[in-house]
């Protein structure tokens, strides 16, 4: 009987190892929520919320802690594309013309794009909350379009859908209405 049970036990153990899994690695956004949950049965959620914890999927087992990251996961994570980068260009009050002292930013963006083949470029324009909201919507879009046109002149493709004006919404939410602040009079270029 023992001769029969031993291989059976080994086979069962191997089958257990072959289960589908989810492994929580680490948090790239400290301060933000860090968790993955098995919500197949919402009444019996199984939550991973600590670094290097793992759940076997399709089972009822509890999460387990790993001592180190699997080699195959290290290799997989190594294939992730680089994180998106953001660049900001600041404008004077009411203007959508790129100031001379901000043109260095365009060079930085150009250098970043040169090392990211197939990059998507998104340009969003903003204003502070001073002045008329409709006018600010227009200025924010003009800022975004002006920056996008500069990048197109460098030879990079910026889709029309990727150029957006976000008006004074962010500034009003942060400062209240009718406030001026440089950091909201900007265009943000996201390269991903």
């Amino acid at each position: 009987v023992r001769a029969l049970l031993l291989p059976l036990g080994a086979a069962l153990a191997l089958a257990g190892c072959a289960k589908d899994r989810v492994t929580l690695l680490d948090n790239e956004d400290p301060g933000e929520q860090f968790a993955v949950a098995d919500i197949t049965d919402p009444a019996k959620e199984r939550v991973l919320d600590a670094q290097l914890t793992e759940l076997a999927l399709g089972s009822k087992s509890r999460p387990r802690t790993l001592s180190k990251v699997r080699k195959s996961d290290v290799s997989l994570i190594g294939s992730l594309p680089p994180k998106a980068r953001e660049f900001q260009i600041v404008f004077p009050i009411g203007s959508s013309r790129i100031p001379q002292d901000q043109r260095g930013r365009l060079e930085e963006i150009r250098n970043e794009l040169a090392i990211r083949p197939g990059a998507q470029i998104e340009v969003a324009g903003f204003t502070d909350s001073l002045g008329d909201e409709t006018l600010n919507n227009g200025i924010s879009l003009e800022r975004a379009r002006g920056v996008a046109d500069e990048l197109r002149q460098f030879g990079f493709a910026v889709a029309a859908d990727d150029v957006i004006g976000r008006g004074e919404y962010d500034a009003r939410a942060a400062l209240g209405d009718e406030k001026t602040d440089d950091k909201f009079r900007r265009a943000v270029v996201i390269v991903r």
Partner: protein, 144 residues
């Protein structure tokens, strides 16, 4: 006239919110055999290839691919994988949306982006046996 205009306006607003052909992300890097199936068509991967909702990404035995999405989510798909980008809606102004990925087989490494932050389980990963709610940020799913 109002009866006529209302459905037209509604349809126009729905198209603006979620065009069926909208870009959801791009292939950034790949090695080995990687293809994207869209309906009955199959395309070889290349850097900059624009992905749409419903695309199925397949890798061969030695294939790997890196993908960046519009909400800043990033994927690494490992060898011998079949991954379906089932659902992706994203409002860039509000930075909210929903994202469902199906891992049919193989391995998927994820760093979640803005959609996962926009609401509880706004980002989900489905496997043949389970549904996962993503709350952030870096994890791996493997389906044998």
């Amino acid at each position: 006239l109002r009866k006529l205009l209302f459905p037209v306006a509604l349809a126009a607003s729905m198209l603006a919110a979620q065009p069926a052909w909208a870009e959801i992300g791009r292939v950034k890097t790949f090695v080995g055999e990687v293809s994207i199936q869209r309906g009955t068509a199959r395309f070889p991967a290349r850097p900059g290839f624009v992905l749409e909702k419903g695309d199925v990404v397949r890798t061969g035995k030695g294939g790997r691919v890196g993908i960046a999405f519009q909400d800043n989510t990033r994927f690494a798909i490992g060898p011998a994988s079949t991954i379906t980008l089932s659902e992706f809606t994203y409002d860039r102004a509000r930075q909210t949306g929903s994202f469902v990925t199906q891992v049919n087989r193989g391995s998927l490494g994820v760093v979640s982006g803005r959609i996962a932050k926009s609401g509880r389980d706004a980002m989900r990963v489905r496997t043949p046996t389970s549904m996962l709610g993503v709350r952030g940020t870096k994890f791996v799913v493997e389906v044998k």
